[in-house]
């Protein structure tokens, strides 16, 4: 027991914060198998921000939660999820506790419901450290320092206050401080800024970026907003219907998207920067993996689909600067 712990932390020094490979998840719903993820692979290197982008139901949350071993109930999980050198799939309850207390932490979408409304913010902020066995005084000191860093005035007093006394933006800063309190190697931000108004969102994103750069942790930034991801992240992973359809450097994905779905995502966002402000949303409704047709899951909504798209699920292949799962990458203009 002791020796494995030492081994894994020795390996951790070199290990990437997150390494997901070939992750497939199937749940049982009313006696039927329902696939949620199909061979998802992605990684987050030390000091790197990776954006995980896709429409609702594409499996972003299921993927990011898997890094903490938070799988859906009655799930059959195959593949590998390695966080800071620790394999999550098949991990014991004790290993998962250790992982969550020391290696990775998650920031959820709605700060208002992330924090227990009847307890003091100090209790929330120190909970992670206390779970690890850190003494109250030391945990308090750490928390106060972090509150200062995320820009909360009079941190000592804020520790004794309650969540309803803060605005959503301030509260999300406090939630971020709570997530960073354990000094994680990996931060998972699941739509962490989506619930905030535009100005606050910009501030919180800037704060996240600054703290991430200072601490050098890896971050998986989950969002449905590809433009935001392109502005914040080093690399981007685009998901559709439980599969990765395109991945590459943020600049490449933004400048030269290869997958028609990625092109659609960029087109469906009102551009704040570009000169053409035409909005071309993707036609149709996003699919979950369970409802996806054979072959490419996107083909029913794809403007350039051909009959060959129905034959098999396209594998990720390099195309120009990105890797893309499409048999006719970058061909939209030709159609």
């Amino acid at each position: 027991m002791m020796s494995t712990a030492t081994n894994s932390s020795a390996a951790a020094a070199a290990a990437a914060p997150l390494e997901i490979s070939g992750l497939s998840i199937t749940v049982q719903v009313d006696g039927e198998s329902r696939p949620l993820l199909d061979k998802v692979s992605l990684s987050v290197a030390k000091g790197e921000i990776v954006g995980l982008v896709g429409e609702s139901g594409s499996g972003k949350s299921v993927t990011s939660r898997s890094a903490l071993g938070l799988f859906p109930g009655h799930a059959i999980t195959t593949g590998s999820v390695v966080v800071d050198g620790v394999e999550v799939i098949g991990a014991s309850a004790a290993q998962l506790l250790e992982l969550r207390r020391t290696r990775a932490s998650m920031i959820f979408q709605d700060p208002r419901s992330s924090v227990n409304p009847v307890r003091r913010l100090g209790d929330f902020l120190t909970e992670g450290l206390r779970a690890r066995g850190v003494g109250r005084a030391e945990a308090n000191r750490t928390a106060i320092g972090l509150l200062e860093e995320v820009g909360i005035r009079d941190p000592a007093r804020a520790m004794r206050r309650f969540p309803h006394e803060f605005s959503g933006g301030m509260l999300q800063r406090i939630v971020i401080a709570g997530a960073l309190s354990i000094g994680p190697r990996l931060v998972l931000a699941d739509e962490a800024t989506t619930a905030l108004d535009v100005t606050t969102q910009a501030e919180v994103v800037a704060l996240l970026k600054r703290l991430q750069a200072e601490s050098g942790t890896g971050m998986l930034f989950v969002t449905h907003d590809l433009e935001l991801a392109a502005a914040l992240c080093d690399r981007i992973v685009v998901m559709y219907a439980g599969r990765v359809v395109e991945t590459g450097a943020a600049s490449a994905i933004f400048a030269e998207p290869q997958h028609p779905y990625t092109v659609g995502l960029l087109g469906s966002n009102p551009r704040l920067t570009g000169e053409r402000a035409t909005l071309t949303p993707i036609v149709g409704r996003p699919l979950a993996l369970a409802e996806a047709p054979a072959g490419c899951a996107f083909r029913d909504r794809c403007p350039i689909a051909v009959p060959a798209c129905a034959t098999e699920v396209p594998a990720l292949r390099p195309s120009r600067a990105t890797e893309v799962a499409c048999i006719m990458p970058g061909d939209e203009k030709a159609a």
């Binding site: 939660r65 969550r100 207390r101 227990n116 009847v118």
Partner: protein, 316 residues
Amino acid sequence: MIFRLIGSRLLAAIVTMGVAAVVIYGSLRLIPGDPVSAITAGTRLTSEQRAALREKLGLNQGFVSGFTHWLGSVLQLDFGQSMVYGSSVNDLLAARMPTTVTLVLYAAALSLVLGLGMALVSATRPGIIDRIGLVVTSLSIATPSFVVALVLLGVFAVQLRMFPATGSGDGFGDMVYHLTLPAIALMVATFGLVARIMRATFREELVSEHVEVARSRGVARMDILRRHVVRNSVGPMMTITALLLAALFIGTAIVETAFGVDGIGQLLVVSIARRDFPVVQAISLLSVGLFVVTSTIADLALPFVDARVRAVGGLR
């Protein structure tokens, strides 16, 4: 603000007590025909005795002046003389109070421990355990306490002779021993409701996002239950406890009678049978008063366990 909350709760308590007082006093006047004949049915009275009784019950006055007269004495905690025992109602109540208070608290403790325990187990273990819990709580809710009393008497007092069948004992230890079966009878009839309501409350907290966040941080299961699930359910728990105490007090009427416990519940049953109006009125007021006091305390304590209530000065 907090003072508005206190003010409005106290006002509500006073209004409730006032309405209850009117109803309780009015029940005497509502007896069809001559209340004195109804009360003394079966006993021969001289016309002087009748007149004295009319005078004593305030029946010679109008409703309003009779009520204010009665209320005046009640407010000085004077409930008059028992028409059956001859002694003052206060003495009758004071002699029986320790027994009944002990019984109610004893039963409440049992009911809360079992009810909350079951609620927590059911809420955290969906599936077969939860389903068994549902059956058990349904039985508890559906079974009247006198049925439980008869079964307990038959098994533990008559067959096994583990507990006495009647009486309320001398001294505190002996009293607790004598009150064990009655308390269990009350518990069996009440814990199911506690378990049901608190199971729903715990469930709601268990699936809440702050519990999910705590889980994602590696907080130990017991700490999640204690600091998130149970902690956030303290408000409903206080409300349940307040209602439970009032229900148990009323429940003592049946259970004390079944087990021959000389307490206030039994006194109420006897006094109703003998139409001992001053005693019935006093115990009725006492029971309303208990309900008003416990639920007001529960409401006023809410801001201390839930800071949000303190801020808005009202209920969620």
